[in-house]
Symmetry: D2
Subunit: 342 residues, 4 copies
């Protein structure tokens, strides 16, 4: 019996990627598709790459439309998920791809989002210690942010193994789809092609507290994060360069061993052979995370670099992976570790 | 019982894309992978996006290595397929992704390739009139060139319905993967990003006689082709703008009707709703062909435009589709019409 | 004594490029800079590449602000130039970078722009027969469209020398800056990177009548034009592939000779050596036009291909070149044939 | 009287950019152009954007060919400059764009380049404390590496003002032209478009000791550098994100003041208004450096980000700027702070 899934926010990039994945998911039947400003339009005009759904028409995001599904995915602007989720009942699996239920600390939420904190749901990054158990059987899932996915996976093994000092310095490059589909002048192709630029510098990016939450949990102590995101001239992909000062006694071997152990049984995290470094092109369209780590003895720092597809593992793939776990399906169902390259 | 497939030329772009598709094909088991200069290397170093095959090691392209498979795909430089095919026996399905067996006219082959003509195999573009029947049960398949795939599908309905004069003018833009993985200065990222440039202008491109062969067969008379390929700053995709003077009496309605009829039952060709035009991004990674056609009354010309992924439908997807037909599998097995976008 | 120049519409791409060129022009002093929605903003925020003007503040586009200049450049939306020009007086050189005064035929204007025809000004493509003389001393200049610049220069020699039949087939690829700086979803970087797509197919593009006007004048008879523009994943540049059936008796030599003669004394048009084809990267940021032409004997067609920078020679460079002629300055003052590459 | 300049290595990207700048330099006359494997070829085939030099033919790099010039620029592979420079005589200004004479410490050179140390020449980054004086009248100049240019300018004010702890963490993204024009598979357009990837991770990049040399000199104590370069999908540009832990007592105001003071009189370094961050597109083709700095109080770090054009200010522009100083010309002659954008 198929899992019937609705997608609220089907016209954006996250919604589109989710539909791409759900179309390939053998256990899922795609139900209602909703939008707001785009309600009434053919999906073929909005997501022309999703040919099997071209003739579907977007409906309004209402409780009536979303009723009668086993799973409801929310790909809504930040702050809108709580109101919708409330109306869906406790037996429906609600997978929120927005930020609303990611943070545990209400103060952090209010500082970075400026609205009342809606709550905290089980966190959809199964590779983190303890996360998988919290997702099993849950009917609410908070899908992580794309940057926190890339960064937390790259650094948590160093913190979990007590190899790194609690001050991380992270610079990440993201493809433009991470900024969404709303037309803004600085996201025009003319502006972004041929250009690298930073934004949200100096601790201003909303994903910073989420990274601190994840790394601090792994370390068992607070971890400060200096995070600088940059916009790269590509549609998809995140390359996260994550460094932290090594604790005394750390060696290249102990670092490697910690990472091998952390990811030994993970179906989607691939620790590359020594000497090979990740590239975002290798995970294009896939749910894989490619990671490499080095110990720079001269600088005394651990450097872990991860590559993900921000829309796939960083958003919609993480959502499907969490859904699989919550519903008791095989975690890898409908997902791939194979990228589309070149 | 799985179909066991070998791939000769697994380190290049065509071979890599084929492996990507075969990994998702439920009836295929991937057997020997061969290369020449790359024999002995891990596939993970050469095709880092194909994680499930990362630890496979390339072997030399020899009859012994290729023996014992149900299907052998040849992704070799032009002119090398005949010698390999000869040694494979008549019961093995040999799918040649090179040019060697595409042309019917030995003179055309010799003029454009400068070597003796190896022969002609059933042509792997099932959507052309009569092509599907020739592929069924065949043990030899010549996969079309990427440009001829895009162009022939865009224009054959106009010729088959006697709507167009036999002089086609075609300008196509291709992503750089169409030029292969051999490192040449003009294909460096520094050169191609931000640049459009033509090549093989004036009837010099080797795909020209293949287009003439296909369009002439549809028209029932010789069709001259003015073909100008251009290199576009993107990794994949072909956009083919194909025009021909309309015959007397042609109307927008008669053109539309001919195209609707030609593609009504085709699983991979999608004639877009009127007013919507194809984009290569929409077919990225998919086996779909998106087509639109218009009649420009002022200029008296039919303009048909197609978008394909040159590596997928244009090469490896076409190869798998033909394999499916030859082996009696459902034609769409393991293939998708869903692109990866944005 | 410096020429004092005002720029109306300084916040857009055409205005920005014009300012880049005027900053390098030894005879020009930059006066008023105006915008509408952006009035009051620092230019440094809008055009961060123009450091010497970073602290200039945009004013409103009013007659008072534009008064007191020797030259006023209009980089306004189509249809707005006439009202502004009227208020500027007959002694001020007005250079209109919009479409308003390009077309001679009022019916063409009304059909393609849907408003009353404002008139016709001397046409700022000095390389066309007779154009230079009309510009000398003129106080009104209509700068050509970017596509008509690329196309007319590529094809007029064939028509002027009676080598081509009066039916041209043109496919051109343009960088995204040609679509302007207004934020529209289909122009987002996420949409355009990795994608080629056509638009305005079937004679719908507003530049079509302008091409017909130019080519018809060269031919001495009406020339029909089948024009298909495509959007390419690059910020700048136009590559125009222009073909026409050759008249009887045409040879490769007669074609080459006609083009050599047409451009022998042109400072900005560079006919490439035989066998070398233009690339838009080679004219990035320059006022040069690179052209190559071939005769395809098998198809019986002349193929002329030009590369320009759509913002430079295609808009702002053409405007400065025309200004130079109108004011009696050396035509090449402040302009370069040197591109920025790679 | 013109300065007569020769360029050894005129076929590569550094040589091509240098020629582009020298063509616009009012005091320079371009003399001999040499290459090795390309000797005998027309420059028009190798550098098609340099139209005024299209008919120049490359000569071999010999003392005879390089004799008789006032300035000789060396754009040669690392390790080849010393032998050429020896033969040029002490009165000729030799500007080495390679690495050979940048490092003061012979041990550093030998560790990173594996050959004997050739010596140390005045360092062509005039903005560094004391550098300008060393360049005045010198007849030997070592042009800095592109990354060290971007990084040293971004961070030296923090070290010179004793604001930062001596452990810098730097992640930089570079356009592909920084990797040169030699055709290597990983630099193919198909590989780099759509992809971000790191290289030389963990202190392995040859530019690391050069950064340590510059920052250590500013700090008056050794500075360790964790440097991670990444390859970005764009032809040109470096965005360097440079962070260091702030010393006790540092405030946002003290950081800003230090940077304003450091760059107050610099013609090419532009400290952006607070809140505006650099983008590589804004310095495309220009000699400008755009810098912004922030103090992240929560993380306790200074974050300085610079954008340069790696070929211009990062290589050829820095070379011309240094030449101007060495020859007693105005430092800005022939150089611009105006970028080509979009």
């Amino acid at each position: 019996m198929a899992v019937r899934a609705a997608v609220a926010g089907a016209s954006g990039y996250a919604g589109g990627e989710l539909l791409r994945l759900l179309l390939a998911h053998p256990e899922v039947e795609i139900g209602a598709l909703t939008g707001n400003s785009n309600a009434g339009q053919r999906l073929g005009a909005l997501q022309p790459h999703l040919l099997p759904l071209a003739d579907r028409v977007l409906e309004a995001t209402t409780p009536e439309v979303l009723a009668g599904h086993d799973v409801v995915f929310l790909a809504l602007p930040h702050g809108q998920s709580a109101a919708v989720a409330e109306q869906l009942g406790p037996d429906v699996l609600v997978v929120d791809m927005g930020a609303d239920f990611r943070l545990k600390d209400a103060g952090d939420w209010e500082q970075f989002y400026g609205s009342p904190h809606a709550g905290t749901w089980p966190y959809g990054l199964p590779e983190l210690p303890g996360a998988r158990a919290a997702l099993e059987g849950s009917r609410r899932v908070a899908v992580p942010g794309c940057y926190p996915t890339a960064v937390s996976l790259a650094l948590f093994p160093a913190y979990a193994a007590s190899l790194a000092e609690p001050e991380a310095v992270i610079v990440a490059a993201s493809g433009t789809s991470g900024a969404g589909k709303a037309a803004k002048p600085h996201l025009l192709g003319s502006e972004v092609m041929g250009s690298m630029s930073p934004y949200g510098v100096g601790g201003l990016h909303r994903h910073t507290p989420e990274m601190m939450q994840n790394l601090g949990a792994a370390a068992g102590e607070p971890v400060t994060v200096s995070f600088t995101p940059t916009l790269a001239p590509m549609p998809r992909g995140i390359l996260a360069t994550c460094t932290a000062k090594a604790k005394p006694g750390v060696t290249a071997e102990s670092v490697r061993a910690a990472y091998e152990k952390a990811f030994a049984d993970e179906p989607f995290v691939h620790l590359l052979p020594e000497g090979q470094w990740p590239a975002t092109a290798s995970v294009y369209g896939s749910n894989a995370v490619q990671i490499q780590v080095a110990y720079d003895a001269a600088a005394g720092r651990i450097i872990a670099i991860s590559a993900i597809d921000n829309l796939a593992k960083g958003t919609a793939g993480g959502a499907v992976q969490s859904m699989n776990i919550a519903l008791g399906l095989d975690e890898t169902t409908g997902l791939t570790t194979i990228g589309v390259a070149p």
